[in-house]
């Protein structure tokens, strides 16, 4: 009887510890997922932060005006019928003052993970003779994107830095656990990173 009770106590303590670790990990998600923004002077800005909540268009224009890069590529996959957000982001950047000849839209196929499309992006960058790139991504994707993108780009001799709009980070991390879309993005990113470890095509 005493032995059973001891086992029950051990199981209860283990479960409680597991729960505490899970809760701590959940609230630590912004720290774990968001890397410090790293803006480096590059040949091209790869604008991949196009979503209903993003203000990255303005940030990209600011970087362009500061002379961080002379060319901008808007990256996107289809989100509805013949609808590529990159095309619209390009139009918006032009309306914000970027010369049309300095901004292009690169259409990518719908893919289960980022790593599937990265070789296409690297090829595009190399084909234009660019040797360095600044990738603008969603804040929650920044740490993972910098790890994965670095692997693909640096293998081909292209240096890469990863950044995001500070306003996006502020908006995303403000009471994020209380808002559906913010929690959805944090948890979705965590799931994506975890799954990528198990599937060869995404590593």
């Amino acid at each position: 009887m005493e032995r059973k009770r001891r086992w029950a106590r051990r199981a209860l303590i283990s479960l409680s510890l597991l729960l505490v670790v899970c809760v701590a990990l959940f609230f630590a998600l912004p720290t774990l997922l968001i890397a410090p923004a790293n803006v480096a002077k590059s040949d091209v800005i790869l604008h991949g932060s196009i979503s209903p909540h993003s203000t990255a268009d303005e940030y990209v224009v600011d970087l362009y005006r500061q002379g961080v890069a002379r060319k901008i590529v808007c990256l996107s996959s289809q989100v509805s019928w013949e609808l590529y957000p990159g095309d619209y982001a390009r139009e918006r950047l032009i309306s914000l003052g970027v010369p049309a000849e300095d901004v292009v839209s690169l259409r990518l196929p719908v893919a289960p993970c980022a790593a599937v499309n990265l070789p296409r992006i690297v090829e595009f960058v190399k084909a234009h003779g660019w040797r360095s790139a600044l990738l603008i991504t969603h804040p929650e994707d920044s740490r993972y994107a910098s790890i994965v993108a670095r692997r693909f780009f640096e293998r081909e001799g292209v240096s890469i830095a990863v950044s995001y709009a500070p306003e996006d980070r502020a908006a995303l991390t403000r009471s994020w656990w209380r808002t559906h879309w913010k929690t959805q993005r944090m948890v979705g990113e965590t799931m994506s990173i975890t799954l990528d470890l198990f599937y060869a095509e995404c590593r």
Partner: protein
């Protein structure tokens, strides 16, 4: 192959259960011809169990139980995972309704395509599409509407619901639209993996309406419930849907 393991699991269960029924009767407790009876009687036929019949120590028994659980788990897990994915789907018989609703969020527009097919088959006289406005100024609902028009549905028969970030918000806006237009019934078109939760949410929100589910047919690359764990994209959708179910049932994030 993992896929074969699922089949092997199903075969093993059916084969052993049939054999046990033949030898011990339907419930394994009514043996009358000298055979052993009792709840565990059907399992005595397994050679694996007979190997341990002389072992009496509790440690050996524990080992036996753990081994049996691992063995069963190896074959049963794929069956259970397939069943869990199948459970996400709800498909109702088609009946004539006031409106066909293609829920938003499908990058490949399979939902809108299915809605247009149902419209042309005469299941309803109106179509509703859904979408979101992006910061760059475009609207995915407008693209969905254009696609449905392109498929031959008259523009005046198409309505759009907007700014619906999740299924619950979509259900609320749809409820309002149906009341405004006097529509009483709807065919809900969404992806198969999303169909049961979408119907649960909509039926809970719009209590006055009658809803029928007509999900987009399953099949890779969109989503395939069979052996979903072997494809990265399907794992993401299935696990996310299961997590969303927990959120929906707990009435959590909105």
């Amino acid at each position: 192959m993992v896929r074969d393991r699922a089949q092997a699991g199903q075969w093993l269960i059916s084969h052993r259960v049939e054999k046990a029924k033949r030898e011990y009767g339907m419930n394994g407790m009514n043996g009358t011809d000298g055979k052993k009876t009792g709840f565990l009687a059907p399992f005595r036929q397994f050679r694996f169990f007979r190997l341990f019949r002389h072992l009496s120590s509790s440690r050996a028994r524990a080992l036996l139980i753990v081994s049996a659980c691992l063995f069963a788990g190896y074959f049963l897990t794929p069956v259970l995972l397939n069943e869990a994915a199948e459970g996400l789907i709800r498909e109702d018989p088609l009946v004539k309704a006031d409106v066909i609703v293609a829920l938003g969020g499908d990058r490949l527009c399979n939902r809108e395509k299915r809605a247009a097919e149902l419209y042309h088959q005469g299941w309803a006289d109106n179509v509703v599409v859904s979408g979101l406005r992006y910061a760059s100024g475009f609207h995915t609902g407008e693209a969905a509407r254009a696609y449905v028009v392109n498929l031959g549905v008259p523009a005046e028969k198409i309505s759009m619901i907007s700014e619906t970030l999740n299924t619950r918000a979509e259900a609320k806006v749809l409820d309002g639209l149906m009341r405004e237009r006097g529509w009483k019934s709807a065919i809900i078109v969404t992806s198969a993996f999303h169909s049961r939760r979408a119907m649960y949410t909509i039926e809970k929100t719009a209590r006055d309406g009658v809803f029928h589910s007509s999900p987009v047919p399953t099949g890779y690359p969109e989503w395939e419930p069979y052996a979903w764990w072997s494809r990265r994209g399907d794992v993401f959708l299935t696990v996310r849907e299961l997590v969303s179910w927990v959120n929906t049932l707990a009435s959590g994030w909105q």
